[in-house]
């Protein structure tokens, strides 16, 4: 019996370790391929210029239009989502604490929305766009991506706010705080590290999404100068270049993928650095 337990213990330890290493090696290999393929084609020209006439045939130009377009859309959507999402998350955790069934319903809906594929948001955004009489534009892209990332942001913030100790809430009430004061002066401060992570998670999702901007933001070789103009995005830049039969253009797709990966990597590191910076005030 004792021997059997020992074997069992060894077996499951080995299984868990193997799974962990397989996942890590796969991820590292993915990054390695993107870097290896991407660096070959990555030049200063590619990140600093918009496409010239023959760019899609392997001639001069770059993907600055897509880099800038992606940032415009992701920044715009993140700010809009924050303006909508933060009040919702605070409302749920400061005002609705006594209404457990309402909370469960809201969480269920948000989880469903989180799981809805982004092409559905793209289709919805397209319908909304036609309804409002908009054309494929930066504005339509921002609105669609906002809808896509708002459930992610709310649920991430919600999970962080749920971790606030009940004693801290009671202590704040006992000092005579109103709910608004508790929301913005105590809860936001207590959860700041997690909030930053939630915001950057949503930003990362927004900048990397393809299907939601396919119909709504359009594509252009220029950097948009107003929110009514169409905007290029990095995921679509990868898609268009990779579907080209010309090898040189395909290589540039990997350069675009590398740029997108570096942006995501930078966002993740920023999230870590910022949240550990604000951790010292957190009450456990």
């Amino acid at each position: 019996m004792k021997r059997r337990k020992k074997i069992e213990e060894q077996f499951f330890k080995g299984l868990m370790a193997a799974s962990t290493y397989i996942i890590m090696i796969t991820l590292l290999y993915l990054i390695y391929v993107i870097f290896k393929q991407g660096f070959r084609a990555l030049t200063w020209e590619i990140v600093s210029q918009v496409p010239k006439g023959g760019y899609y045939f392997g001639e001069e130009g770059g993907i600055l239009n897509a880099i800038v377009g992606s940032f415009y859309i992701a920044f715009g959507a993140t700010i809009l989502a924050l303006l909508i999402g933060l009040p919702v998350a605070l409302f749920m955790n400061v005002f609705l604490t006594r209404h457990q069934s309402a909370l469960n319903n809201i969480r269920f809906f948000l989880d469903v929305l989180w799981g809805v594929p982004s092409i559905i948001y793209g289709a919805f955004g397209f319908a909304l766009m036609l309804f409002l009489g908009l054309r494929a534009s930066l504005l339509a892209g921002i609105i669609t991506v906002t809808l896509l990332i708002v459930p992610i942001m709310i649920r991430s913030m919600d999970e962080v706010l749920r971790m606030v100790p009940g004693g801290l809430l009671e202590a704040s009430y006992a000092l005579g705080s109103t709910r608004t004061e508790i929301s913005f002066k105590v809860f936001c401060r207590q959860t700041l590290p997690g909030m930053i992570t939630a915001i950057l998670l949503a930003f990362g999702r927004g900048i990397g999404d393809t299907a939601s901007v396919l119909f709504t933001a359009g594509y252009t070789d220029y950097i948009p100068e107003s929110i009514m103009q169409p905007a290029a995005t990095l995921p679509l830049a990868i898609f268009f270049q990779l579907s080209s039969p010309i090898p040189k253009v395909q290589e540039r797709a990997y350069a675009s993928a590398l740029v997108l990966t570096l942006i995501i990597l930078f966002i993740s590191i920023l999230a870590r650095v910022l949240s550990s910076k604000y951790k010292e005030h957190v009450i456990k």
């Binding site: 004693g167 009671e170 009430y173 006992a174 000092l175 005579g176 105590v186 010292e280 005030h281 456990k284």
Partner: protein, 251 residues
Amino acid sequence: MTDSILRVQNLNVTHASTPILRNVNIEIPRNKVTVILGPSGCGKTTLLKCMNRLIELYNGLDISGSIYLDEKEILNSKNDLTSIRQKMGLLSQRPYPLPMSIYNNIAYGLKIQGGLNKSEIADKVSHYLKIVGLWDEVKDRLKSPASRLSIGQQQRLCLARGLAVNPEIILADEPTSALDPISSTKIEEQFLELKKEYTIIVVTHILRQARRLADHVIFMYLGEVIEQGTPEEVFDNPQSPTTRQYLKVGH
């Protein structure tokens, strides 16, 4: 009783038809230490939370009865909840400092009350830190996070924070249960000092602590007030067999 600050009348709290408090009638004398004594789960904390209406944060409770603060009904009235709560400082079982600096922990209550300028706030912060004996320990690091203090220091900070909003009553819910003996003694000493200016209500299940602190004792068991009176009456000459049993076992 001659001068009572707080009076609880026919208070009943029920959760899903299980009574938590049964017909509680008590009076809390002004500028004394009142100890609410009883075993765990007898409703002491619920009674305390009725007083500052934190009870309203909980789901599914039926509350009936009245509580009078200076002869003004506070449990049912649509009174300004903020001002009721600011009349009672709360000290909980384990300290929950606010997620900000030591200085701002005390300044917070003053700022939400309003009406003070920066230097007045600074004066009050140092004043209340001195009252709880924390000033010398923290005066060089007022800007550092309160979370870095030891748990005993945090509890004294919470006391100072509660005092700063100028309450009449201090509600202490087993305030020493998370503390080491030295920190506990400091808190107890401060209570004896503070009763000159404040009314203190201490919830505890520790008999020796009750004996050390009490001017007035309320003994509770299974949601009911079994006995109340002076320490001499309750400790030396208990009328109820339940009290006698607890005094015997609780040593």
